[in-house]
Structure formats: C-alpha cells, structure tokens
Amino acid sequence: MEEVWKDISLATLHSERPLAPLMETTHSHPHHHHHHLHLHRAHPTASPSFRTMILQDFLSGPCSTVSPAAATMEHIPLSPSPPPLPPTALSLNSGLELRCLSGDGGAAGGGGGGGSLLGNARSRSCSNSNESRVNGQAQKNGHGGSFMPSYFSDAVIGPPSPAGFFSFCSKKRMMPEGPVIDGDRRYKRMIKNRESAARSRARKQAHLSILLTLSSS
C-alpha cells in the first residue's frame, strides 16, 4: 500500500495531467480499495464534499508511510483531483455516456453509433441511483472504453477541470437535481441535434439525387 501512495504522489508531481497517474495506478492495482472508491464517486453529485472526501482518503492513507510520502501528500490538494472515471473512459462526458449505456443492459457493443444510441437514449429510464450506474460502469468498462472514444472523441474536448465543471453546474442549478441531470440532458440534446443534422443531410442528398435524375433524363 505504501508503494501505491508513492506511485500516486510521485506521479502527480511529475506529470502535468493529473488524470494519467490515477489511471495508471488504478490500472495496475485494480483491487485497490481506492479504485472502488473512485467508482463510487463516479458522479460529482455532492461536489464540494466529494473532493474533500477524496483528499481525506488520500491524507488518511499515508499515515503509516514514511515522512517524505506524507510531505508529498500536501501537494495533492493543490493539483485538482481529476474527475473519477473508470480507467478506460476519457472524460466526464463519456463517463455519463457509459452510464447511459448501462441502462440498456448490454447493448453497448452492438449496433451502429447513432442508431443504437438513439434507441438507448429514448428507451432508457435513466435511473438516478448511483449504485446502478456504478455497476453499469464497472461492467461496461471494457465495452465502453473501446466503443465510446471513437464516437465521442470529437465532442469531448478534454476532461474539464473539476473546479470549472462544478462551477458550471452550480450556474445551471436552478433545478433541485444536479449536474448529473444537466449532463444527461446535454447529451440527449447533442444526440438529437446530430440526428436532426443527419436527416437534413439525407433530405439534401435525396433532393440532389432527384435533380440529377431529372437533369440526366
């Protein structure tokens, strides 16, 4: 356990993107309890307390470690704790997408990108319990990781900094729900917009083919 903390601390110090070392550690120590912790914290619902909890866990971890490790722990609060993600996910957005797929019960790998997702987006009753999502994420990591990035990589700029994300969500927090619902709505809206654009392109192409047929006959 001590070497895990050393990995995290040294890696966060050295790397620019705090996301990467976390992914490495969780990947190399899949059974570490903090991996599960991150899965349980998969949703920044209670946002400020979530961050402090993670920090407390970090800080409580190296109590038994050597002092250099403890000293380096203090740097961790400075680096923004990355959004808790399954190791294969890219960002918060795709994390939500994984969750959406989880509601469909295993159709993550199947179907084309747009069509099946449309069906999922419409039919799923997006359950708001963290546990179901956690299970979905835990199960779908393998599928989601390989499936999502190619489809959503263009939409995902990069992992938003948690501070920025939380403030963004607090602006939108007119509703009593939280950033989870907003992200879901944005995702649905994005999908619907894409389909609308695809239909518009199809109409245009159909029209062009009619014109070509008329002009050639």
């Binding site: 609308s196 192409q205 083919s209 009619i210 047929t213 008329l214």
Partner: protein, 179 residues
C-alpha cells in the same frame, strides 16, 4: 452520384426493408404528380390523391398503405408509424379509387419537424379480407405485410411535409409539382 431517394431519405430502413421495384406507382395530388422525395405543403395534400398503378393485367390486385414514420415528430417518433390510408384490392391499370378503402384518408397535419409520408404498394396474391386496424398510430408496415402474407413491397414513394407556416429545412430549387 444519385441514389434512390427512398434509401437516401431512410425510408428503406425506418419503414421498409430493401426491396426490388417491380411495379409502378404514381401519386397525384391536384392533378400534379408528386416526385419521389419532394416536399409538399399540408394545404396541397388535404384531400386524398389519386394513386395510379399502371400495368397490363387487371387481375393483379394491389394493397396501398400510406404512413407517417415521423409521428409526432422526427426527433421523437414515438407513434411511428401513423397510418394515414389503407386501400386494398386495387386492380392493376386502375387507381386507388377502384379499391377497397379499409382506412380512410387522413390529411397530413405535421405539427413539429419535417415528416416523411410514405406510400407503399404490395402485390396481393388473392383478393383478401384485411381487417381494419383498431387505431392509426404505431402501425407497423412490416408486420402488416407479414400478417397478411403480402410479401415484400413492389413499389414505394414518399414526400416531405411540414406544417403550413413552417420554415424548416433548406431552401431548395423548386421542383415541379412541389411547394
């Protein structure tokens, strides 16, 4: 490169399976033949069209189905497909007026988005009794054809329609017989 508007417009896929055209179908509203894939206003399609089925053999009978796969809106087609018209026993060389109207023509009245209105023609093997569906919405052309052993469609065409004052979609060059 031109492709069939039925495929490009995703009628094949949403409503029909790929099929080989083996019959002819002409839809005529107000003495104007509708071009496949064109756009019409609701005011132009208020009354039922005359659907001509050219051919040679009057003994061949056809079933005509008209559905809206984009009900109530293309983004949320929960009532796909909405049945607008169902006519059976149409003899070849004649038109829809000579058939058996099982479900009367309902004027297209799209409220949201640009809907496709699809005409599908099936060739009947025999003169058959087709039961009137209990309701128009959530009709399924594929299931209907399977239920009555109509086989694959022999012809189909569609037009786009949005609400009368709608301004959606691109501004195209006008085609004859549309808008």
């Amino acid at each position: 490169m031109s492709r069939d508007p039925l495929v490009v417009g995703r009628v094949v896929g949403d409503v029909l399976d790929p099929f080989i055209r083996s019959a002819f179908l002409r839809v005529i509203y107000n003495n104007r033949e509708v071009t496949n894939g064109s756009e019409l206003k609701p005011s132009a399609v208020v009354h039922q069209p005359r659907v001509d089925i050219p051919g040679r053999d009057m003994r061949t009978l056809y079933t005509l189905v008209m559905v809206d796969p984009d009900a109530p809106s293309p983004t949320n087609p929960t009532k796909r497909e909405h049945l607008h018209w169902l006519v059976t026993d149409i003899p070849e060389t004649t038109n829809s007026g000579f058939g058996n109207e099982i479900v009367g023509y309902e004027s297209p009245r799209p409220t949201a988005g640009i809907h496709r209105f699809v005409f599908v023609l099936f060739r009947q093997e025999v003169r058959q009794i087709i039961d009137k569906p209990g309701w128009r919405q959530n009709f399924n052309t594929r299931d209907f054809a399977a239920l009555y052993n109509l086989g694959p469609p022999v012809a189909a065409m569609y037009f786009n329609c949005q609400r009368e004052n709608g301004c959606g979609g691109r501004r195209y060059i006008r085609l004859t017989g549309s808008k």
